[in-house]
Symmetry: C2
Subunit: 209 residues, 2 copies
């Protein structure tokens, strides 16, 4: 039992600098995580801790540039779950189970010490996208879209409400990667991440735990 | 040895859903991390993996709203290191060693399927702020500011170049928390984070590993 236990956990070393968990290259950390998308009776449960995922980009569609009523007011803080990020960086594709969260934030100011512009104000509701080809086949093209606002659960939106526009306008697999430069950098970056990174308390993507 | 080893690591359980590492409430994960700020000969080394830290907010000062030349063009994607985030959420103050990274991103488009606005383009250089009251005393008010651009190391900027403006305009301890709503939410959130969160493969702040 103990031997198996240690093999499963990889190796734990006590180094002078502290405690490191070294994960084996064959067992990506993602495999040990609870999937980011959790459903109950076909309702997506509000993702937890998404602010601790990976931020990918922040378009802003201010009300004052959209006749007072932006479709998605106003900042769109977009996050991808960490497992999907790691997988996307490695393979260049979004794995099944990928979750994006878009958190809407109002514009709080248009002038600050750093100049004129748009400055975040108050956090609003969230929306989410989940890649699940079995659940969201046909004209949903593999993705389900959910508008939570402040709710704890959400039903999938109609294909005409979200999927059609994503299909027509998003650069890559229904995702607006053209506005998420962090994802482009992640795909390009593995070359610059030497394998020994995995031997210093980090995963293959360099997460430090 | 084995017993001590297990005590140090907390408890590892193999659950049906996967492998969980349970960290003890007495030993915050932060204590095991390499400090986010690493100096060599008084030069700050370019922070690694800051995109895997916590995103706090994204002001945008577009060139076209600043006579063609914003002081910090254009999106400011701001991150805080994870240890400092956890500590700030718990205590409401930025601990010694706190690091912020500001990554500049150009505006790539002003019109998209979601409306008119500002949409991220290309990633530019980074700047960083480090709280270290011993290194940055006097009129630096406890913080050092560093402009890396694309460089691997950076010298601290003069107090008149950065600190004076932060001191005069930032809402909280030299930090522009008024534009970083995620930090406000983190301070308010611990009440909503029941202690049992720490028993499901998460740290006290709910990081899932």
């Amino acid at each position: 039992m103990r031997k198996w236990f240690l093999v499963a956990a990889g190796a734990l070393l006590i180094a002078p600098g502290g405690l490191w968990l070294i994960t084996s290259a064959q067992a990506p950390v993602g495999a040990a995580l609870k999937p980011a998308a959790q459903f109950t009776n076909d309702q997506l449960m509000r993702p937890e801790n998404y602010r601790e995922w990976i931020f990918v980009g922040c378009p802003v569609t201010p009300n004052d540039m959209n006749n007072g009523h932006a479709a998605f007011p106003e900042f769109h803080d977009v996050y991808i779950d960490r497992t999907a990020y790691e997988e996307y960086a490695r393979t260049g594709t979004f794995p099944e189970g990928t979750v994006f969260v878009k958190e809407l934030v109002s514009v709080g100011a248009k002038q600050a010490a750093s100049g004129k512009g748009y400055f975040p104000g108050k956090i609003g509701g969230i929306a989410a996208a989940v890649k699940d080809s079995k659940r969201f086949g046909g004209d949903r093209n593999g993705w389900g879209y959910f508008n939570f606002g402040e709710a704890k659960t959400a039903s999938v939106m109609g294909a005409a409400d979200c999927n059609a526009c994503h299909k027509q306008n998003a650069a890559e697999d229904m995702v607006f990667t053209q506005y998420y430069p962090v994802l482009g950098a992640a795909k390009a970056e593995p070359k610059a991440m030497p394998p020994e990174k995995t031997e210093k308390g980090t995963t293959s993507r360099g997460y430090t735990y």
